[in-house]
């Protein structure tokens, strides 16, 4: 998991701090954000593979943040973290482009596992993109030259 960079977005500061500490211990690169806006800002600054996104937040809520992330950073995988009452919003999230959802209280190990899965998926996608691009490049050296 050397390369996994995880972002956790939640309005619960202590949760952010503890989870960050915990995941760092497991050698996961963690970025935290306590609001949707902060998350978007940090996403612009650094490359993140997977975002764990709380559905219910003051200000910009989870679903709105998700839409914005997907619009600006379509390759970032998002996992929704929801209190049970908002399974509907989790479903909405999945429809909007989230890869998975977790129910509170979620065990940090489970969070990490799902994040890793998403990361691999993401890697897979990137790999495919790379391969495709490579194939396209390999297809025609002339074109390659033309583009260069």
């Amino acid at each position: 998991m050397d390369n996994l960079k995880l972002m956790i977005v939640d309005d619960e500061e202590r949760f952010l701090a503890t989870t960050e500490k915990l995941l760092r211990k497991k050698n996961v690169d963690v970025v935290t954000a306590s609001s949707g806006a902060e998350a978007l800002e940090k996403l612009r600054a650094q490359a993140v593979h997977v975002v764990i996104l709380d559905v219910k937040m003051p200000g910009m809520d989870g679903v709105a943040t998700l839409k914005e992330i997907k619009r600006q950073f379509p390759l970032v995988e998002v996992i929704m973290l929801t209190g049970h009452a908002t399974v509907e919003s989790a479903v909405e999230g999945l429809q909007t482009g989230a890869v998975d959802y977790l129910m509170k209280p979620a065990d940090p190990d489970l969070i990490l596992q799902k994040a890793t899965d998403a990361y691999h998926r993401r890697m897979g996608v990137e790999e495919k993109i790379r391969v495709a691009r490579m194939r396209w490049l390999m297809k025609s050296p002339r074109e390659m030259l033309k583009n260069a």
């Binding site: 915990l22 211990k25 065990d107």
Partner: protein, 564 residues
């Protein structure tokens, strides 16, 4: 309303319903009886008066006829002629023809000498000049004596009439057989005790009396002398120590004789006495009818009231229950959601502690030992409790969310055995037998299959718990039956032979968070969720239970129609 209130209402209605009809009923009977008795008395007295008047008329005419007989002789036959024995006896025969009451005939000259006689005795030769009757006859021309014995020692009375011969008077005297006269007077018969008799002015009996008292005697019980005059006089008089009599009296023979007709009052008014029986019987039956009607109606009214009240209480309970359930659902959903956030924090902290602990052991800062084990155990417990909380909040959220399920036509005879199969293993472990009775025809209901399954699994699990609670490993029987109700509903019954539910718990059984299970074992939401689900599917859920015998849950669901 409590029992006391019903008792007082019952008493009030009962008293009113007995009293109100009883008062007019008794008044009608009382007034009716009063006027009836008055009329009976009046008519009895009137008829008695009439009898006395008629009887007086008859006796008077008898006396005046006898007097007329003699007067005719006096006027048609001369003294010389009548003193001849043959003539006298032929006259007597003639007299006897008109009335057999005459028993002899005597002729007296002006000096009272008995000159001629026809009769059973030999009486001629005696001089009656100073006898009062003779004097009276000469003076008034006619005389009718009281009844007396005379020297013959036979009761009789005499009628004497004076005649004229050349300025001198003579007298003809006839003896009237008292026996005949007696019969005439006594012939009056009214009722059982009605009788007629004659008294003279001294109160001596002039005739026999049927009820005792012979001729020439004073009756043992004197009656007050009625006032003068020709009117018939009536009175009610009670001789000392005797029966009460109704008397009717009338004067006869210029107030020398008193005709008395009397009858025992009880006898005279016997019609009245006889009417007592039907009146009493009517009162009794009428009264009984009133009381019966009052009791029956009161019972019906109070039962109806009780039923209405019970229904009212039930209805209000249901209303309160329904609205409270909805409110509670909303509130608890919010509450559960809020709890989940801190739980998430605790969970994260716990994981961190665990990681740190492992690290410390690895770096030698912490050595494994008794305390280490205790800390680990304690942390496991925190994990358990977090899971428990999360289970509760999940149940609450399930209960709070009344989302619409996807209703479908469910064939109960297929689905119910499937659901039973799910718990069969668990049941077998506890040696519980599940007996299932299905209808011959397929019953389809409109329901959400997964939620119906949730409800039935809940009920089956509860049933197994109840049996385990009662019998332990000895097991028991769960009876499931599916039937087609007449009210357009299909009924699923789950009956267990378990420990039953206390009556005070039975009414709270569908209330959220109500549980009798030990702490940590149940959330108290299972049945309330079931209730909510069934209600939402347009069905009904009911429970009946008997402590020690078992519990029966009934789920009713609307029968679905296949859409063509």
């Amino acid at each position: 309303m409590d029992k006391n209130a019903y008792t007082s209402v019952r008493r009030f209605i009962l008293i009113t319903m007995i009293l109100v009809p009883s008062i007019p009923f008794l008044m009608v009977i009382g007034i009716g009886y009063h006027y009836f008795s008055l009329s009976i008395e009046n008519s009895t007295i009137a008829s008695m008066k009439r009898i006395v008047a008629d009887h007086r008329q008859m006796i008077s005419s008898f006396l005046s006829e006898r007097k007329n007989d003699l007067e005719m002789i006096v006027n048609t036959v001369s003294f010389d002629e009548i003193t001849q024995p043959e003539r006298l006896s032929s006259l007597f025969v003639q007299l006897q023809k008109t009335s057999s009451a005459f028993s002899d005939l005597g002729i007296f000259d002006k000096n009272g000498l008995h000159v001629a006689y026809h009769g059973p005795y030999n009486l001629t030769g005696k001089i009656y000049r100073d006898a009062p009757w003779f004097q009276e006859t000469l003076k008034n021309g006619v005389y009718i004596s009281n009844v007396f014995l005379g020297f013959r020692n036979v009761p009789h009375f005499i009628i004497a009439v004076a005649g004229r011969r050349n300025g001198d008077s003579w007298v003809i005297r006839a003896t009237v057989d008292s026996q005949q006269f007696n019969t005439l007077v006594r012939q009056v018969r009214i009722g059982k005790t009605g009788e007629a008799y004659l008294l003279n002015s001294q109160g001596v009996l002039q005739t026999d009396r049927r009820s005792g008292g012979t001729l020439m005697e004073k009756p043992p019980e004197p009656i007050p002398t009625p006032p003068e005059g020709d009117d018939v006089h009536t009175m009610i008089h009670s001789p000392e120590g005797g029966e009460i009599f109704l008397y009717a009296t009338a004067w006869l023979k210029d107030r020398q004789w008193l005709l008395v007709v009397r009858q025992e009052k009880a006898d005279a008014f016997s019609a009245l006495r006889k009417s007592w029986l039907p009146v009493a019987l009517t009162s009794l039956i009428g009264g009984a009818c009133i009381v019966w009607a009052a009791f029956t109606l009161t019972g019906a009214i109070v039962r109806k009231m009780e039923k209405t009240d019970t229904e009212k209480v039930l209805l209000s309970q249901q209303l309160v229950g329904a609205s409270r359930l909805a409110e509670l659902g909303e509130m608890s959903a919010g509450f559960a959601h809020e709890i989940n956030n801190p739980l998430q924090v605790i969970s994260a902290e716990l994981s961190l502690i665990r990681t740190l602990q492992t690290e410390m052991v690895e770096t030698g800062q912490l050595s494994r030992g008794e305390s280490y084990e205790e800390i680990t155990d304690s942390m496991d417990q925190i994990k358990t409790q977090i899971d428990r909380c999360s289970k509760i909040t999940r149940s609450i959220l399930k209960f709070g969310r009344q989302e619409d399920g996807c209703d479908a036509l469910v064939a109960l005879d297929k689905v119910v055995p499937e659901i039973i199969d799910m718990v069969k293993k668990k049941a077998e472990v506890h040696s519980i037998r599940i007996d299932c009775r299905l209808p011959e025809k397929t019953i389809r209901v409109t329901a959400d299959p997964s939620r119906l399954q949730q409800v039935l699994l809940n009920l089956l699990n509860n049933a197994m718990d109840a049996i385990l609670d009662k019998n332990g490993s000895a097991g028991g029987l769960i009876h499931v039956s599916v039937s087609n109700g007449s009210d357009g509903m299909a009924a699923i019954e789950v009956r267990d032979s378990g420990s039953g539910i206390q009556p005070e718990n039975l009414e709270k059984i569908f209330t959220p968070f109500f549980t009798t299970k030990p702490v940590g074992k149940g959330t108290g939401l299972g049945l309330s969720v079931c209730y909510g689900i069934i209600e939402q599917m347009g069905g009904k859920m009911a429970v009946s239970s008997k402590v020690g015998t078992g519990t029966e849950f009934t789920v009713k669901l609307p029968i679905g129609r296949l859409k063509v």
